[in-house]
């Protein structure tokens, strides 16, 4: 197990280095001028030239890259061109909000998706199973943007049960964005769980368990579900990773102050160090979540660690 872990951690370093190099190069060749985005309208050429020099944008590419990498190695993601604040500080300030939203969405998706999936596999063809199949179809088809706005209109504007947007601090603010964000995962998880469970429930050991006279709930949950966990963990891990790296649409619709909006603003303002820093930070989060998923895999199915 520890060798497995070491291998995985060692793989992180080239991954992150690759991310670093690719983002740097892509932004370098992308059109647009960060200095012009900084100063807004009515810029005079002297100011533009002065700022460009101050930000070392006139340096050759390799020097700019070396300067950037040396900062990153020291744990410094640089300073935003626009806000003049350290990027890492900006990201860390926003990350708890993203974590809160991702956690809530995941919890909602896991509880609902797995329950629906298990029920569907246990009673295939029943009316709840058919309704949930249709629901899952809708869940993956409707765009997040649309669902978010509809939820706001129904629950915040018409019924006034929940606040339309913002983070406020209270749990009430979390409900609509978490539902919106988690919806697709509910759909995927329910189908994935159902398929995996159906396969398991038809296997010999389940038949044996039933023949022993075990209670049906014990057969389904303890014997069935445990063995169907692997694909479920995969979906949970992947979705959680992508939620943690910023859900730009959900955060925008619900004015949620997370990292997704930070990245979006950085791109819009052509804030190069903020874009690079965010991508690096978020890649780190993503690979860490993947690592945790891998470890969970190995726990769920010890054969994985020996492959």
């Amino acid at each position: 197990m520890s060798r497995f872990l070491l291998q995985r951690v060692a793989l992180l370093i080239p991954t992150l280095l690759g991310v670093l190099a690719i983002t740097f190069l892509l932004l370098y060749v992308a059109p647009g001028d960060p200095v012009q985005a900084m100063v807004g309208e009515r810029a005079d050429p002297e100011t533009l030239a002065r700022l460009r020099a101050e930000l070392r944008l006139d340096d050759p590419l390799h020097l700019q890259f070396a300067h950037y990498v040396s900062g990153v190695v020291r744990g410094d993601l640089g300073t935003s061109y626009i806000t003049r604040r350290p990027i890492l500080q900006d990201l860390l300030q926003r990350f708890p909000a993203t974590l809160r939203l991702a956690g809530a969405a995941m919890l909602f998706a896991a509880v609902l998706g797995i329950t629906i999936g298990i029920y569907g596999a246990w009673r295939p063809g029943s009316w709840p199973d058919r309704v949930s199949a249709f629901g899952a179809y809708l869940g993956v088809s409707f765009p997040v943007y649309w669902v978010g706005l509809i939820l706001i209109l129904v629950f915040a504007v018409n019924f006034r049960w929940l606040p339309p947007s913002g983070s406020g601090g209270g749990l009430a603010y979390l409900v609509l964005p978490a539902l919106t964000l988690g919806m697709r995962s509910v759909a995927f998880l329910s189908r994935m769980t159902r398929a995996a469970m159906q396969e398991v429930l038809q296997s010999d050991f389940v038949r044996t368990a039933r023949a022993k006279g075990l209670k049906e709930t014990r057969v389904v949950l303890a014997h069935g579900f445990r063995n169907a966990l692997l694909p479920v963990v995969t979906v949970l891990g992947l979705d959680f990773g992508s939620y943690l790296t910023g859900s730009i649409l959900t955060e925008t619709i619900f004015s949620w102050p997370g990292v997704g909006r930070y990245v979006l603003t950085a791109i819009d303002k052509r804030d190069l160090p903020a874009i690079q820093g965010s991508i690096l930070f978020l890649s780190m989060v993503f690979v860490l979540v993947n690592l945790i998923t891998d470890i969970l895999y190995a726990r769920v199915d010890p054969r994985v660690a020996y492959d």
Binding site: V154, R160, G166, T265
Partner: protein, 510 residues
């Protein structure tokens, strides 16, 4: 699709309930860059700076220039030397009285090369300011402070708009030396005091009880950051915002359901397509006029913008001196456009590229313009880029046409004529048409310098007529802003200039 859904789902009556307490709720579309006036390059920063700080001069909601920290000012006959008399009794939020030395220190700080705000141009007219900002001199000899309540500013050359430039956020007076976290925890002297700022979420301000103009009517002002226009509208409908700008797609419905709450007036802005007058066939005046005849502006305005605009027959919007309501726009006339193209030697038309940013409301507009041009034989390819990339290309002269708009920084025809059409401002300065017309240049320079208001207005009118004649733009329209204020919110008028509403007189009656 969105509109239909909103219309059906919001058809139920909504009663505004903003909860108790005298807090006003406002919003920005994005997080301010900073709360430091020296870094105010964007609208949210400028707006919040105008609430937290004072300038020597300021604008009211109708864009009239009124005294700020300077109770009065006078100009010498040359129009080059301005003397500002400060009011007594004004203090910073920490209780320190504001003196002339603070004005001097604030202006120097905004200009200082180390601040790298990039937006200190409103102060460049002061003698020696530009060299100081470039790091070429140690001081600015155009600023002098004879006593605690007098500031004399001497300019490089006469400039009648200068008192208006001093009302810009970058010229706000700050208590120097400022603290290290000044951009996050500012101390100003304005009607509102800083309380807290949660990035991308909300800014909370409390009223300044000792404000020299009298304390604001409300206890506090909460400014939420809400990027999505439909969410802004929903927040208003749920009673969580005191005021809101009505989204374009919602105009028709709100005109029926919120008629009593709406305020509409033409903003000081223009929507246009800049024609690069230095590129290929576009150098020919006849071709540029043909482009204007090829676009059906009135229909576009109705279909794509819910009629929220006044068709443009020039670049100066209604509300500015020099606007000529009697001049007719280029009429939609494809036959005339084809005739002009043939006369210019392009009977079969030609190809060009129409650039636009990713702003959603411009997408449909660009397509309609493309279609109009196509009907007279001009094959326009639409190039869509993020704002900074598009702007960079346009400023470098790489774009044939650029669909964009211009918002006034300060209410004066000069703010349109000089940046948008003077040859000195080609490219980065704002003249995206790369227009260089000697007659226009000389009129613009004269209009900037004169101390005679009547002459200034007649020059502005003549400049606008000349601009219209030269057709450096496809003239579209002057957008009309529509805002709604909750029935229990009193005293709020939406400002013509973004710094013109300081929320002093605004209160809630429930």
């Amino acid at each position: 699709m969105r509109r239909i859904l909103l219309a059906t789902l919001l058809a139920l009556p909504s009663c505004a309930d903003q909860g108790g307490g005298a807090t006003l709720n406002y919003y920005f579309t994005y997080d301010p860059r900073s709360l430091d006036p020296a870094l105010s390059t964007d609208v949210p920063t400028g707006e919040v700076v105008s609430l937290l700080f004072d300038n020597l001069t300021q604008f009211d909601a109708d864009a009239q220039l009124i005294p700020g920290l300077a109770r009065a000012w006078d100009t010498d006959p040359s129009g080059q030397r301005y003397t500002f008399h400060l009011r007594t009794g004004a203090t910073f939020h920490d209780g320190r009285p504001i003196k002339a030395a603070d004005v001097r220190a604030s202006l120097l700080r905004a200009l200082a090369p180390g601040v790298t705000g990039g937006r200190s141009w409103p102060l460049y007219p002061i003698r020696g300011a530009r060299a100081y900002a470039a790091g070429e001199s140690k001081g600015v000899d155009g600023i002098s402070v004879p006593d605690d309540s007098t500031v004399i500013l001497t300019l490089e050359e006469p400039l009648n708009i200068f008192p208006k430039l001093l009302a810009m956020p970058v010229a706000a007076i700050v208590p120097t030396p400022v603290t290290a976290d000044f951009d996050q925890q500012p101390v100003g002297s304005g009607p509102w005091k800083f309380v807290s700022w949660s990035h991308d979420d909300a800014i909370l301000l409390a009223r300044n009880e000792r404000y020299w103009q009298g304390q604001p009517q409300a206890d506090s002002l909460r400014i939420r950051i809400i990027p999505e226009p439909l969410t802004q509208a929903a927040e208003y409908e749920a009673g969580q915002l005191s005021v809101v700008e009505v989204p374009v797609g919602e105009t028709r419905r709100w005109e029926q359901t919120h008629a009593d709450e709406l305020q509409r007036r033409p903003g000081l802005k223009a929507l246009y397509v800049a024609i690069n007058t230095t590129r290929g066939p576009l150098k020919d005046l006849r071709v540029r006029r043909a482009l204007n005849h090829a676009v059906d502006v009135p229909t576009l305005l109705t279909t794509a913008f819910a009629g929220r605009g006044v068709p443009a027959a020039g670049a100066l919007p209604p509300g500015l001196a020099g606007y000529d309501s009697t001049r007719s726009p280029y009429r939609y006339d494809p036959a005339e456009a084809r005739r002009l193209l043939a006369e210019a030697g392009y009977p079969k038309g030609f190809s060009l590229r129409l650039w636009r940013t990713q702003r959603a409301e411009l997408a449909r507009l660009a397509q309609s313009i493309q279609q109009g041009l196509g009907e007279v034989g001009i094959r326009a390819e639409i190039v869509e880029r993020d704002a900074s990339s598009a702007r960079a290309a346009v400023r470098n002269g790489e774009a044939d046409l650029f669909l964009t708009d211009w918002w006034a920084d300060y209410p004066d025809p000069e703010n349109f004529n000089y940046p948008l059409f003077h040859s000195r401002n080609k490219g980065p300065g704002g003249n995206y048409a790369f227009l260089a017309d000697r007659m226009l240049d000389s009129m613009i320079v004269r209009a900037r310098a004169t101390t005679d208001e009547a002459e200034k207005t007649s020059l502005a009118r003549a400049i606008d007529a000349r601009v219209f004649e030269l057709a450096p733009w496809i003239f579209l329209w002057f957008p009309v802003d529509i805002w709604a204020a909750q029935p229990d919110v009193q005293g709020w008028r939406f400002p013509l200039v973004f710094t013109g509403q300081r929320w002093l007189e605004v209160k809630r009656t429930q």
